[in-house]
Amino acid sequence: MGERPCIDMPHDQTTRTKAEPDPGVMRRQANLIRRRSLQMVHNAGMGHPGGDLSSADILSVLYFGVLRVDPQDPAAPGRDRFIMSKGHCSGALYAALAAAGFFPLAGLNTYMQPLSPLNGHPDRNKVPGVEASTGPLGHGLPIGAGTALAAKMDGAQWRTYVLVGDGELQEGSNWEAAMMAAHYGLDNLTVIVDRNRFQQGDATETALRLEPLARKWTAFGWAVAEVDGHDHAALFSLFGGLPLEPGKPNCVIAHTRKGKGVSFMEDRVGWHHHVPSAEELRAALQELEAQAL
């Protein structure tokens, strides 16, 4: 195996300080998630960079501003649960978890290597901080409904957040869970839709129409908010105001761009799972480094 570029990049002196959420930290961490996940996908020769990039800001705001989780005690009973239902974007998730201190950054270099705990799709029994083993779509929201229900049963205050892809909402299991979460009044549950408008093979509206998406969730009994999924301040303030309506589960439709941050990847369906070549990686990292300044 040849020498692989080290992913341990600068700018991560801020990683473990999340006492006071800082917009600068969230911005820098989102940028690092993008750079690291692209490097990881390139090294592995496999991955889903388009969705890694569209979800990077959401992950950064969650892990560096919102989630009450302790990397030193990742199984603490009273922790918030974050479930990455779109498990194929494991590159972004692992980059966020490592930066948040759940495991060493150097571990990212093993992404998808033989015997690495960092499988192409996250394994809850191998990676600290991973709440659910996902990969097949439509699994995260039912599991999140279960954790939220358990918190309600116990009268506990911790919250559950589930990040789903928009194409993923074509899976019927999501709507089973949506009905059930509303029926049980799970206002401690928040689904975040990474609305990047593309799925593996096509635009969502061409493959199988999702719109009117907000009205669907509303009709299912959820309180819905729409937000720019790359606006850290807006995301942070929205999450700070949960529940949107007491007694209703929360749906945050985060409008994003697939491949966000790299000009030649944005809104290109092919980058769902294309692997950047060395040249493309260099160009992408150059753009992202410029944004970090």
Binding site: P77, R81, D123, R124, N125, E131, A132, S133, T134, G135, P136, G138, H139, L141, P142, I143, G144, A145, G146, T147, A148, L149, A150, A151, M153, D154, T160, G172, S173, E176, A177, M179, M180, H183, Y184
Partner: protein, 323 residues
Amino acid sequence: MSGLFDCRKAFSEALEQVAEADPRIVVVTNDSVGSSNITGFRQRFPERFVNVGIAEQNLVGVSAGLANAGKIPFVCGAACFLTARSLEQVKVDLGYGQANVKLCGMSSGMAYGALGPTHHSIEDLAWTRVIPNLTVIVPADPEETRQAVLAAAQAGGPVYLRISRMPVPQVHPAGYQLRVGRAARLRDGGDLALIANGTMVARALEAADMLQADGIRARVLNLSTLKPLDEEAVVAAAAETGAIVTVEEHSIHGGLGGAVAEVVVRTKPAPMRILGVPGVFAPTGPTSWLLERFGLSAQGIRDAALELVYGRVRDEAEIRTGN
């Protein structure tokens, strides 16, 4: 041995018993309260009872989430829908995720006889036993059902309990102790082995009695834990009797017979007969009639055993006489 018992009664009594002792135990169902016999649980523990409606993917996913948060869900639904409709959730959320969830597949096999093959569950053992980390238990009588519920509550990982509604006699002696992963030898014998589980154990014992009159001493094993399989007991049966008949209220493909054959062929190859539903959708008819039709009766088991044993004896005679 007197009387016939619906194992669902023992199931729900045991469930309430473990729930009383352990506040982490919850019941989750897909609107199958009556058929799962959990009305009593709902009355006693309403705050620990969750109906997710007719939605099996969500049923299993929600249960994995409850387990993530420290609950011990017993998931109750008809075996046919519980295992088939949610199979990917069973594989990924429970098996791969190692969630502490107990799937309780009620009214398994052909218990719903005349309702037709849509409601029969004769494939569930095939597709549950291939999922890593998932323990599969098929109790044979009320006492074993009771102990299986207790064992499932104690186990740290996912378990599939297959609970029939067809009345069965008690097959175990007083003081029987279920050991998960170990077969129970209910009858000694060296001429052939009858290996059964669930509703078929009583019939295998009856067949053994008939075979005794035929001059054949049949060993009877209740292989109630299908996974992990008691390989030692299976190898011993193959080595010491040289002929095995398996009996299950299930397809002949991929269930108990398949599991036993997988062990036998790589250890002590021995002729086998696998009794079950022979790879067809059953016709319409009541359970007892269907079982009869597929040879899943004491008489059918005896006939298969005689054919197997005399076939083997004849072969040996032929060898001896050089014919």
